[in-house]
Amino acid sequence: MSFIEKSQPRPSKPSKVRLYSSRFDPLSAGIRYVLRAKGIEFEDCYINLKDKPDWYNDINPTGEIPCIEYGDEVIPESLIIHDYLEAKFPNVKMQRTDSAYKWSKDRLFVTRFTQNVTPKIGGSIKNPDENVDQLLAKLKKVSEIMGMRGMDYIGGDSPNYADYYLFGWVEIIPSLKAAHDLKIDIHKDEAYKDYFAWVFRMDKDKHIEQDRVDRKVNFKTRTEFLKTVIAGSPNLKVGL
């Protein structure tokens, strides 16, 4: 992976999939796990959102990450990226094909999670007092849904894009707890049983474990990074 400095010229068109991302960004995380699970070779280019190179807006006019560049094709927007990768690289399936309805249930889980839970995760980093209680309430709901579905993963017997998407977000939570030194202890609470069982499985996923090793992004470095964010000067290179 590489940190793209502001002064660097635009890299030449990639022959493999290039992911413009940020080291600790949760949406990028979900995409990376899917890229790995699908066996897609990719380059990881970290864009500093606070100090973007001028040419980045030529690639993605909204200036956001994550964004995929593959030859002449540029795709922003996390879920659209997931769908593009699924269509373009069909060998390893990361989305259900058994029924339109089951596919839509996974997509609705992700969509509703994005609407209801992710703002509370971001909010808990900035302002835990106002957000953590609501975040915990929403995690109970997530646990309930997982319990109702009654499978090891959202994808069934093995993780699919929805599992990786959610995990890219929830893996932040232990770090935000440590960074803010929050006194929360819900691991033994029955209401979160199915959620933690799923987290425990995902934590051991080989693609997630490999990603930690390759990028040195893990509980420790994520916690350190969040501390620098809370202090007002985010250090994207912690632990490197």
């Binding site: 094709e73 593009y84 997509r107």
Partner: protein
């Protein structure tokens, strides 16, 4: 036609797809055009969104329309419904089959949602203050249409992106009437967008929808006027 409000009973499940909608809802409009284009046989029920029945949370926990219910299967969230329908009813294609072209259309819809539909929603109450921003985004859309160089975003005929966009922009002429505020987009500046609007206005599924729901311009203006006055008349013109 059933208008389902607080005192209503949940309709029994049916194997025929049922769309929970309301006559003038821009989120539902694109889906209805698409259902027509795909030749899907379905029924619709009007949910009284100002007076929602308690049972509706069982249909859609998020509480909004549109929602599509087929037997035990309920799908909601507009973008999810589009994808669900494309997968379930593949005979008539309304999305590109090429991965990149499909992504471009989805990006178009995502940006339309973020930058345009929010402004149109605000314009319902206040057209004047939102007009500049709406025009700015329509100018970008005009540029995209010009670059594609085809009659529709979908090429020779409308696709899901065309129907989605039109479901929203057909509100604009109505809002002119509601606020009695005349503005015209410049024919030269919007030389791709305006002809596209004319084509979509004449689209058979759009015309059919207006006939079915009696949701033409006159009734749409009357409805939004009544909504702004605080007494939304969901049965206007019927």
């Amino acid at each position: 036609m059933a208008f389902l409000g607080k005192d209503s009973q949940r309709p029994p499940k049916s194997s025929k797809p049922r769309l929970y909608t309301s006559r003038f809802d821009p989120y539902s409009a694109g889906i209805r055009f698409l259902l027509g284009a795909k030749g899907i046989d379905y029924e619709h029920v009007y949910l009284d969104v100002h007076n929602k029945p308690d049972w509706y949370k069982e249909v859609n926990p998020a509480g909004h329309i549109p929602a599509l219910e087929t037997g035990d299967e309920t799908v909601f969230e507009t973008f999810v419904i589009y994808d669900y329908l494309e997968d379930k009813y593949p005979a008539v294609r309304t999305q590109p089959t090429d991965a990149y072209k499909k992504a471009k259309d989805k990006i178009f819809m995502a940006h339309t949602k973020e930058y345009l539909t929010t402004k149109i929603t605000s314009a319902v109450k206040n057209l004047k203050d939102n007009l500049e921003e709406i025009q700015r985004v329509l100018k970008i859309i005009d540029g995209i249409m010009g670059k594609r160089g085809t009659d529709y975003l979908g090429g020779d005929k409308p696709n899901f992106a065309d129907y989605y966009l039109f479901g929203w922009v057909e509100l604009l002429p109505a809002l002119k009437g509601v606020h009695e505020f005349d503005f015209e987009l410049d024919k030269n500046e919007f030389s791709h967008y305006l002809p596209w609007v004319s084509r979509m206005d004449k689209n058979e599924h759009v015309e059919n929808d207006r006939k079915t729901h009696k949701s033409g311009l006159k009734n749409r203006i009357a409805f939004f006027k009544s909504a702004l006055a605080g007494t939304p008349n969901i049965k206007v013109g019927l």
